[in-house]
């Protein structure tokens, strides 16, 4: 079957690649809803290093996507089954110790491989996770939520058992999803969110405290911390965390920074801190994310950060959603009609 793949060829320029897709081995999914990630934005607007861009483009963007199974030669899913698609491409050799999203030889759709902006997506059967929810626009951000699920899993595995308080540095979408999951997983933990934007911070109604960065009380402290600032904010967030975290705390790093970040190693050593990098997610995280997304309380909370743009019916509409995403505070989702 001939498939249409909507590739970014240069920043701001989308072109169609036509590819011959085999129906014999893989599940074929018709994408229905997609969500835009900061990483997509960095490619679309050319905000990544030129050499990095050149090595990855042309490439279809978007790695947050749900769809419906239209063909499954493995017989696992019926036609019409709603699924979340997993962008991670695990290495051929399974590894019980290293997670699939960090393993050598793994890949990622929309970073070096075509993402989900296609007419149909062909995937190995273990790269789709079924769901029942009827709210596809809401389910579109499941991949995003799975990243937060993964970070919380790593925290659970690595942080010491004194877990009375957690601080999240950052007030964006990832910080919000993470806060929702932490509140679901550890309802008794005192959760503080440290951000810069009053509107964004006001959405964290379920957190125990919210603070503006730079206005933290002198006696403020947390047992563990999650850094979700990213970009230029990473430096200030990490510096703050080192200052306010209690000894031997774990610091989960989730924010992406294009530039190298200076870190106060002296105090890290003095406090015996553990820094853990968290990026992307694997199948188990997706399965758990689907459970969260189908939980009513979680769903209501996470819906606050979803803005549904008009459907994409043409290539011009693809440009429109990337531009309008710049003006929305949290996550932009859209129906995919191409």
């Amino acid at each position: 079957m001939i498939n249409y793949v909507y590739q970014l060829v240069r920043p701001g320029i989308i072109s169609i690649k036509y590819e011959d897709v085999h129906l014999e081995d893989e599940v074929i999914v018709k994408p229905t809803y997609m969500a835009i990630c900061h990483a997509d934005q960095r490619y679309y607007f050319g905000k990544r290093d030129f050499n990095k861009m050149s090595s990855k483009l042309p490439m279809a963007l978007i790695h947050e996507c749900v769809g419906e199974v239209v063909h499954d030669p493995t017989g696992t899913y019926p036609t019409g089954q709603k699924v979340v698609m997993i962008p991670n491409i695990p290495p051929k050799e399974p590894n019980d110790t290293i997670y699939e999203n960090y393993a050598k030889g793994s890949g990622f759709r929309s970073s070096g491989y075509d993402g989900f902006m296609r007419e149909f997506v062909n995937l190995p059967v273990d790269r789709v996770v079924p769901y029942k929810s009827t709210k596809d626009s809401h389910m579109a951000i499941t991949e995003f939520v799975s990243v937060a699920v993964h970070a919380v899993k790593r925290f659970t595995e690595m942080a010491h058992n004194i877990r009375n308080s957690i601080g999240i540095w950052g007030d964006g979408s990832l910080a919000y999803a993470l806060a929702c999951i932490i509140k679901n997983a550890f309802p008794k933990i005192k959760l503080s969110v440290i951000g810069k934007d009053a509107y964004k911070l006001s959405q964290f109604t379920f957190a125990d405290n919210t603070f503006f960065a730079g206005e933290l009380p002198k006696d403020f402290n947390v047992d563990h911390a999650f850094e979700c600032a990213g970009g230029e904010g990473s430096y200030y967030a990490i510096d703050d965390i080192i200052r306010y975290i209690n000894p031997q705390g774990s610091v989960m790093l989730l924010g992406v920074s294009e530039n190298k970040v200076g870190i106060n190693t002296r105090d890290i050593l003095e406090k015996g801190l553990t820094f853990v990098g968290c990026s992307r997610s694997g199948r188990v995280d997706f399965e758990n994310a689907v459970k969260h997304m189908e939980d009513e309380t979680f769903a209501k909370r996470i819906n606050r950060i979803i803005y549904e743009d008009s459907p994409v019916n043409t290539i011009d509409d693809i440009h429109r959603v990337f531009r309008s995403d710049l003006n929305t505070p949290f996550k932009t989702v859209f129906k995919w009609n191409l």
Partner: protein
């Protein structure tokens, strides 16, 4: 009910590439026959109750074997002999549909050239909706070149305003009962001049809705088209 009708009635081969009719030529990395690519796209649409393939009577068995070979054998797929031209193949398919059961008001047929494998699911879905709403629809793209009319092939008789002109593609989709009623109302002369099923509606002042096609939804009928199709898919045979 909604019926797909893939029109592949011809045996002509203007390509001189092989003895195969053009719809059976291999295309793309998979080397699947063009008609298989087209059929696979139709199979991705779960709205079809049946998908008919109108194939020349000498090639029906060949088509059946191809479907089996590519693992597409499916109770939804019905092969029926084509006719002398496009319209007669469509009406052969309609006759075959009628033989299997009564055609009811609102039943839709989505007709498509087998040699247009670059169609999309969007086009199919929009055809179905437009045919339900309007009774008939045609897939088109806006004319890019200026079209000139010449009745004698020597001198221009008209230069129609390009903004009102479109190039017709397929799918073309119809309310089956309406199409049949209008077609039977045509004189034999009108029928012989009718190369396009949408023309049946236009000839009787019945509305035909436009569905947007795609520049790459090309019809593979010549060697050049075939090479272009291969090039679009990233290959380029000598």
């Amino acid at each position: 009910m909604i019926f797909g009708a893939i029109v592949a009635g011809g045996v002509g081969n203007r390509m001189n590439l092989s003895g195969l009719p053009k719809q059976f030529l291999p295309l793309g990395e998979s080397k699947k026959p063009i008609i298989i690519h087209t059929l696979e796209k139709f199979l991705m649409c779960d709205k079809f109750d049946y998908i008919y393939l109108g194939v020349h009577k000498d090639w029906t068995q060949y088509a059946e074997e191809l479907i089996e070979k590519y693992g597409l054998k499916n109770e939804k797929i019905v092969i029926t002999p084509g006719g002398a031209d496009r319209n007669s193949t469509i009406f052969n398919i309609i006759s075959a549909i009628e033989k299997r059961g009564e055609v009811r008001d609102g039943d839709i047929i989505v007709t498509h050239d087998a040699v247009r494998p670059f169609l999309t699911l969007r086009m199919i879905n929009e055809n179905i909706e437009a045919a339900k709403n309007c009774g008939a629809c045609d897939t088109v793209i806006p004319a890019v070149d200026t079209i000139v009319e010449s009745k004698d092939g020597k001198l221009i008789t008209a230069v129609p305003n390009r903004k009102y002109l479109y190039q017709g593609q397929t799918p073309q989709s119809f309310d089956i009962k309406k199409l049949k009623k209008l077609y039977l109302d045509l004189s034999e002369e009108e029928k012989s001049q009718m190369t396009d099923a949408c023309g049946v509606f236009v000839a009787r002042n019945e509305p035909v809705e436009l569905v947007m096609g795609d520049t790459f939804n090309i019809k593979i009928t010549t060697v050049s088209d075939y090479k272009i199709a291969e090039a679009i898919l990233g290959g380029m045979p000598e």
